[in-house]
């Protein structure tokens, strides 16, 4: 490796580690997010819901209900609260409750938004409780690694981390260099342009590996998460993810010389994928036509493939298709980005 590449990589390393903010957002923030979400949705906290009952509470049947599910330390708790219909509607608007009950002609009527899945499941549960049937529910908690929310979350966060790292780390860095006229200053020297891009690529790969390993290590220590499938497949996928999003970053940052426009462009790429690609909650809740598109978004492809390896034990062979797809997207974007690249 020539001296210029080494010096350029040193620049990337120094500007990364000497900026505490960068280290925080790139490395610590994903870990923090995993920790908070992991705890919030872990089995330890149980499930708690409040239901408003319009009219008098019937002390015999309706009190606080607590369900012990076999194998879990905590319980599912449903609180009942007496309220007027007006209050109930207001609470629903605020998201405090998803369902309320009225008593009509000796029976119960359930009021809720029919597409709200949480309300639907509460309806079914309540119907059994109020009919005095709760006792014969047969339920067994699934707690094996690979099936918990944290198992769903961590591979998604890894994919999200790679995307953020490439777009903010690489993309924004290029825009900033152009804004500072550093790019222009650099091309006025005999610096080889390939050295410049190679240094960025090598650094980005290294930093994404580091960020991912830290997150994985944390998930292993705190939640016992392990990669059930192929490590080789995992690493291939990681590399493909970096190639893909670095390519996208290069394209996004190829011409912009204004940080506000750059900010907007990067967010225009990041936000839709962060929201749609099922990082925090499954995208299978979206309408079917939307899913058909969403499943091919690069972030979805990457997150789904990580989940297959981490949770379903997929092998290296099974990841070939997503790896190929991501690398192709990355290469096409890179070529377009390089062709368009403005040094000044």
């Amino acid at each position: 490796m020539n001296n210029a590449i080494i010096e350029l990589i040193k620049v990337h390393v120094r500007s990364f580690f000497r900026e505490p903010g960068v280290v925080f957002w790139a490395v610590l923030f994903p870990v923090l997010m995993a920790w908070v979400l992991g705890l919030a949705f872990s089995e330890k906290s149980g499930v708690k819901a409040t239901v408003y009952v319009v009219g008098q509470l019937d002390k015999d049947t309706i009190t606080e209900r607590r369900f012990q599910i076999e194998g879990l330390p905590s319980a599912t708790v449903i609180d009942f609260k007496s309220a007027s219909e007006e209050e109930a509607l207001r609470a629903m608007k605020k998201g405090i409750i998803s369902l309320y009950i009225t008593r009509e002609q000796g029976g119960y009527v359930y009021h809720y938004d029919p597409v709200n899945k949480e309300a639907l499941s509460h309806h079914l549960l309540l119907e059994r409780i109020l009919a005095g049937n709760a006792g014969n529910m047969q339920m067994r908690a699934v707690t094996a690694p690979g099936n918990r929310y944290i198992d769903f979350l961590i591979p998604g966060l890894i994919a999200l981390g790679i995307m953020n790292s490439c777009l903010w780390g690489l993309g924004y860095n290029l825009i900033e260099f152009r804004m500072k006229k550093l790019l222009r200053r650099m091309v006025a020297t005999p610096m080889r342009k390939t050295d410049f891009f190679v240094s960025h690529a090598l650094f980005r790969i290294a930093i994404c590996f580091l960020e991912t390993l830290i997150l994985l290590f944390f998930a292993w220590i705190s939640f016992g998460l392990v990669i059930q499938g192929s490590w080789l497949g995992f690493l291939m996928l990681l590399l493909a993810g970096v190639i893909c999003f670095s390519g996208i970053a290069l394209l996004v940052a190829s011409r912009t010389q204004n940080s506000q426009v750059g900010n907007g462009l990067i967010n225009a790429v990041l936000l839709p994928m962060t929201i749609l690609s099922g990082i925090f909650f499954s995208y299978h809740n979206f309408p079917e036509w939307a899913q058909k598109v969403i499943q091919y978004l690069p972030l979805t492809v990457l997150a789904d493939a990580f989940r297959a390896i981490v949770n379903e034990g997929a092998g290296a062979g099974n990841t070939l298709f997503p790896v190929l797809l991501l690398v192709c997207v990355g290469l096409v974007c890179s070529i377009a980005g390089l062709k368009n690249f403005k040094w000044y």
Binding site: V11, E19, M186, V187, T189
Partner: protein, 307 residues
């Protein structure tokens, strides 16, 4: 000896706007040339074409016998430049920044130390770029421009925004380089800078050179002697044509300010004062001086050099 820089019939347009309208220029090796002109005169476009980052639509640019088309690698190694306010990476130290650029030229650490010594930044070698003062930053930019021991240096306003002491420090460095036979084109907003550093001054306006020569040559060639600059409370143009040795009056309505070019201050000033009194004008400011570049530019174009 072949000229360091030679331009023949250089034209460059951006859309409908012709920024550079057919320029011929020859700069010999070791010559320091100042390029002056108001914003939008085409200075930057001209410099960028010499720098090789813009291509002329027509005409030819030859640097040390080489052209950008054929010998760009060789030219990169022989030219040093400092852009108007290059911002280096904040969290990089001075030495690290210089080493990065040195690596592009395949230069040793020894050369980095030499250059830092030359621009008086040896003590700041371990300081972060973000902690440098304006003058130190400009010296770093200059040092980086000089790393490869360039035969030609192109400096775009190297002292803009600096205090007089920092400005003089940079002048001293540049004067030292002149001893070694470096060729320089300097764009500047400071007349004094052009005067101190450069044997030739080019004044550019609307894509053309409108005057050229040393300061004294310019003044004797285009000069109209001394200048009386004044401002009054009243808006109407005072009649000064009767002053002895009157050459020209440029009047600015919005500032109630005028400049009069006269052959001899000693004769013109008493008459000027009488004229002011006779016209019942209230004199607010008065300055009498030998003509400067700015006066010259206004005499040539009717506009300020630095508007």
């Amino acid at each position: 000896m072949e000229p360091a820089i030679q331009l023949k019939g250089v034209i460059k347009s951006f859309g409908d706007l012709q920024a550079v309208k057919g320029i011929d220029l020859q700069i010999r090796q070791g010559e320091y040339v100042a390029l002056l002109g108001p914003n939008g005169a085409g200075k930057t476009t001209l410099i960028e074409m010499i720098e090789g980052i813009q291509t002329p639509d027509q005409g030819e640019i030859v640097l040390l016998g080489k052209t950008w088309k054929r010998d760009s690698a060789a030219l990169h190694a022989e030219i040093g430049l400092s852009l108007q306010e290059t911002k280096f990476i904040d969290k990089l130290r001075v030495g690290e920044t210089a080493r990065l650029f040195a690596s592009f030229y395949k230069l040793s650490a020894k050369r980095v130390d030499e250059v830092l010594e030359l621009v008086n930044l040896t003590e700041k070698k371990n300081a972060y770029v973000s902690n440098l003062s304006g003058g130190q930053r400009q010296r770093l930019a200059l040092g980086i421009a000089l790393l490869n021991n360039p035969k030609i240096i192109l400096l775009d306003e190297p002292t803009t925004g600096l205090d007089p002491t920092s400005r003089r420090e940079i002048w001293t460095i540049l004067q030292e380089l002149k001893q070694r036979g470096t060729t320089m084109i300097l764009t500047t907003h400071y007349m004094e800078e052009a005067q101190v550093l450069c044997e030739r001054i080019l004044i550019m306006d609307r894509g053309r050179f409108i005057a050229e020569g040393s300061l004294s040559e310019l003044i004797s060639q285009y000069g109209e002697g001394d200048v009386i600059e004044f401002s009054v409370r009243e808006k109407e143009v005072p009649d000064m044509k009767q002053l002895p040795g009157f050459n020209k009056l440029v009047w600015k309505d919005e500032e109630c300010r005028g400049r009069i070019w006269v052959e001899n201050l000693a004769l013109a000033v008493p008459a000027f004062m009488r004229q002011i009194a006779d016209s019942h004008l209230e004199l607010l400011e008065l300055e009498c001086r030998k003509m400067t570049l700015d006066d010259l530019f206004i005499a040539l174009t009717g506009r300020n050099l630095y508007e």
